[in-house]
């Protein structure tokens, strides 16, 4: 028993060493080296370049701006939809998290079709007012902030909503019975209780925004951000700059992760230990307010769905039929026929499916190994690892998730680009395996977290009961634990699979030409102005993701 766990621990350490520690260490080391000797020259050089400093400042500024805007949108929406009930509430609630499941590249493309200077909105205004030029250009700060707010506000909406649901309703009542006015209760009870949720949302938004790549690439205009700088440095072969900037980006992201983890561990605020009064949603009684809230629900729901609807529409547009008109003039199935029938266009589905499946299944197996080491199995019985060990393990597993895709791709490519004394002739770059490995590293934390959550919800008494009935360790696992945690683990695996399916940020850095994933095909169709085909790929991805999310949701509920 103990020997099995030890073997497991060794295996986990090996994977983490090769997958997380070594590549990141390799990047850090090479950022401090020049011609084989240790030096700070790289940092001195890149930090004296205006463009690099600008990229750092832009990335930070964009992320902070994104956090503020997302909070301004997400928090009021969460209050409105979590605390009140009115006609139309469900309509919005159903699509509120839609942007979260949209692959960033697909979202970017949809945004261009909708809001770009030759998109539906700009065209309709131009045609309506008979303007000479498009009324705006989708570029630079406003474009990036708008897109980021659209895609990342759900962090605030979802987490604030969850925070509000968790707050014991009797706390606010107690505060009022003690003489606190509404505003007093809001600032002294509600806000402190919500703080952890707000901080978690802010950090998630910050990290996601730091990692954002597709939008700065496609409509960032002159706003250079770190991810983009790293990409262009690599494209022009300036590895020193790419690697050094990667370290800077990684340090900022990891700092956010560490703060995030500290706050997530603060359980005191949750106060879930006591039985609380359930919070009922308040029905909005006043007719005007009801109408206003209902209208807001409908408007926001439309705003959320519009980019996706646009993508659907464009995917049926005949190539070349959409130039100056508000909407495409002719519709056809040809785009779909092409991407499925043409071997060169269709092979990307097979590529992405196989690479994502390999990564997701590996993550599933891996999550069982890790969670066995992480979770306390029975009451009183100490976990296999001490608290420090478990914390370190959790942190190492979260690192590739917290790091921007750009960083993971650069560090993996840097570490496994050429044979070395540690690896022998083990080279990943340029092989089929580089992307599945990167997908695995980036998305396995999702599976681990899903399984860990299921395991922790499991009542230890169940296994104890099985043991008292005479079941051996493997029988307890197969007949009690596995059936109960399986749905959660599978839902996590499915999530990792669909996210890998639409991955672009890391893929674009290291993909192999004869093994292109779907996202690369979308980008190249867009570059060739095959808008319909790019949209059709996006629609296929969205359909696959939606179906998978429905299945994952069903699985979660059967827990």
């Amino acid at each position: 028993m103990k020997a099995n766990r030890l073997a497991l621990l060794v295996a986990v350490i090996v994977v983490l060493t090769y997958g997380v520690i070594y590549p990141n260490a390799a990047v850090v080391v090479s950022s401090f080296q020049r011609a084989g000797s240790w030096t700070l020259t790289n940092y001195r050089e890149i930090l004296s370049q205006r463009s690099v400093l600008e990229a750092i400042v832009n990335s930070l500024g964009l992320s902070i701006g994104t956090v503020v805007l997302c909070a301004l949108v997400g928090v009021p929406l969460a209050f409105l939809f979590e605390r009140y009930t009115f006609p139309g509430r469900r309509l919005f609630a159903a699509v509120a998290a839609l942007p979260l499941v949209l692959p960033p590249l697909v979202g970017t493309v949809a945004f261009i079709f909708l809001c770009g200077e030759s998109g539906i909105l700009a065209h309709s205004i131009q045609n309506l007012f008979r303007l000479q030029n498009p009324p705006w250009r989708l570029a630079g700060w406003p474009a990036l902030l708008l897109f980021h707010t659209y895609t990342m506000y759900p962090f605030f909406y979802v987490l604030t909503g969850a925070g509000l649901r968790r707050i014991d309703a009797s706390l606010a009542e107690a505060a009022r019975s003690l003489g606190g006015s509404r505003t007093f209760v809001f600032t002294r009870v509600l806000v402190p209780q919500l703080t952890p949720s707000l901080i978690a949302a802010a950090l998630l938004t910050f990290m996601t925004s730091m990692a954002s790549f597709s939008a700065p690439l496609l409509f960032g205009g002159r706003v250079r951000v770190l991810t983009l700088e790293i990409f262009t440095a690599r494209q022009r072969g300036d590895m020193t700059v790419a690697v050094t900037e990667t370290v800077v980006l990684a340090v900022i992201s990891l700092a956010a992760l560490i703060v995030f983890q500290r706050y997530e561990g603060t359980r005191k605020f949750a106060a879930a230990t006591m039985k609380g009064a359930p919070r009922r949603r308040v029905t909005i009684a006043s007719g005007k307010a009801r109408a206003l809230a209902g209208a807001a629900a409908i408007v926001f729901a439309i705003v959320l769905v519009l980019p996706v609807a646009t993508l659907f529409l464009v995917s049926f547009a005949r190539e070349g039929s959409w130039t100056t008109q508000t909407l495409p003039a002719e519709y056809t199935f040809a785009n779909y026929q092409r991407i499925f029938a043409e071997p060169y266009a269709a092979e990307v589905f097979f590529n992405s499916f196989s690479m994502s499946a390999i990564a997701a299944l590996a993550a599933l197996a891996w999550s069982f190994c890790v969670v066995t080491l992480l979770v306390r199995r029975a009451r009183g019985k100490a976990a296999f690892l001490g608290q420090g060990g478990r914390r370190l393990l959790s942190l190492l597993i979260l690192v590739p998730w917290a790091l921007p895709g750009t960083v993971v791709a650069v560090s993996t490519a840097e570490a496994y680009g050429q044979p070395s004394w540690l690896l022998g002739s083990f080279v990943l770059v340029g092989t089929f395996w580089i992307l599945p490995v990167i997908y695995f590293l980036r998305f396995m934390p999702l599976v681990v977290r899903a399984l860990q959550a299921s395991m922790e919800q499991l009542d230890p008494a169940l296994e104890e009961a099985a043991g008292s009935l005479g079941a051996r360790a493997w029988q307890r696992f197969v007949r009690v634990t596995l059936p109960l945690v399986w749905p959660g683990a599978l839902a996590g695996t499915l999530l990792a699979f669909v996210i890998a399916l639409g991955e672009y940020v890391a893929s674009v850095l290291v993909f192999v030409p004869d093994n292109r994933p779907i996202s690369i095909a979308i980008a190249s169709e867009l570059r060739d102005f095959n808008l319909g085909a790019a949209a059709a790929y996006g629609v296929v991805l969205i359909v696959i993701i939606s179906v998978s999310m429905v299945i994952a949701g069903k699985l979660e509920r059967t827990r």
Binding site: A174, R176, S177, L178, G179, G180, R182, P192, T273
Partner: protein, 358 residues
């Protein structure tokens, strides 16, 4: 003039009627209990008193002033919640000080009053403790002291002892009563535990199904339940279905039991004479049933067979089958009784009560 007065208040949740036309008065200095089974509307009534729920109809007044529409923070009632509702992000001191700073009390005044409140509930030196470092009993006392610290006009309790274990519950119960009396406070106390209500309250109203069934001193309620619902809820009762015999016109009503066909004599006042030939319910407490092994010529003596003897420490419950009528008797020492033994039950006429249907 009562301190608090509810006039005919009602509250619906959707189509369910939680509280239906409740009227009651609470006098200054009174410890008033609202007692009833779970879901009877007692907590909703309390929350309407606190201002946390609005009644659909009816009014609430304090010192004869209508407070129905007054928000909770302006009523000045302290409330102790079932789950205590202590603020988990604040320590003990800050929990106490919350109500005082909401009332804009001076800083020095606050720390002075917090110190005396902590002494009041025997937790001196606990100011800096986090809430989750306190035991359940200590949290309980902090919750009570927090409500008392604002010097409330009225203290409201929503089953405050139900999360404590039995021994702690009885201890806290007497402390609580002592504290309220010492400070001369008026309290409304909601509970489903009749023993708790009897021990604590000066006066009790029993609520069933959203209605106030009966109000009175604990002993009155226990000995003279007005109807079947109250009798069922307050302690154990033998409920005997019977019809009044037509031959009896005097105050000594003559009844024939539906089960067993026994004849029982019950003194009834002329104004609540039961209608003839319609089933009524007669109630008698198990402790008022006498049990004898001999034939007995006493009135209301029924022959029966011992079916079950349940030992419960100080007393034992004996279940006797009297020709199809099952009667429970509470005995201090059921010596010499055996299962299937023949015996005589004596139901004292003055302890038999005629109940109206709810």
């Amino acid at each position: 003039m009562p301190l608090l007065s509810l006039q005919n208040i009602s509250r619906h949740f959707g189509s369910t009627r939680a509280v239906a036309g409740v009227s009651l008065d609470v006098a200054q200095g009174e410890f008033f209990g609202l007692l009833g089974p779970s879901g009877c509307g007692k907590t909703t009534t309390l929350r309407m008193i606190a201002g946390l729920e609005q009644p659909d109809s009816g009014s609430i007044s304090l010192h004869d002033k209508d407070i129905t529409d007054l928000p909770p923070e302006r009523r000045g009632f302290g409330m102790v919640f079932q789950n205590y509702a202590l603020f988990p992000h604040l320590n003990v001191f800050e929990n106490f000080a919350f109500g005082l700073s909401a009332h804009h009390a001076a800083k020095a005044d606050i720390s002075e009053r917090v110190r005396s409140a902590l002494e009041l509930v025997q937790l001196p030196g606990y100011e800096k403790r986090a809430i989750d470092e306190l035991s359940g009993g200590q949290q309980q006392r902090v919750a009570i002291a927090r409500a008392i610290a604002i010097e409330p006009v009225l203290l409201l309790f929503d089953e405050p002892l139900s999360n404590l274990d039995v021994s702690l519950r009885e201890e806290t119960r007497s402390e609580l009563r002592e504290l309220v009396t010492r400070l001369g406070l008026t309290a409304v106390y909601v509970t489903h535990d009749q023993e708790e209500a009897f021990a604590l309250c000066d006066r009790i109203s029993v609520m069933v199904g959203g209605r106030l069934m009966q109000s009175g001193r604990p002993r009155e309620l226990y000995e003279e339940p007005a109807d079947i619902a109250v009798a069922r809820f307050l302690g154990r009762n033998n409920l005997i279905r019977a019809v009044r015999l037509s031959s009896s016109k005097t105050s000594d009503g003559e009844f024939k039991t539906l089960e067993g066909g026994h004849t029982l004599h019950v003194p009834v006042t002329p104004d609540d004479l039961a209608p003839l030939n319609k089933p009524v319910v007669l109630a008698i407490r198990p402790e008022h049933v006498r049990l004898s092994l001999n034939h007995d010529g006493a009135p209301n003596a029924l022959r029966g067979v011992v079916r079950e003897i349940v030992f419960a420490g100080a007393t034992s419950t004996v279940r006797v089958d009297a020709g199809g009528l099952l009667i429970e008797a509470l005995l201090v020492q059921p010596d010499g009784l055996r299962i299937n033994q023949e015996c005589t039950l004596i139901l004292r006429g003055d302890k038999l009560r005629l109940l109206r249907e709810a």
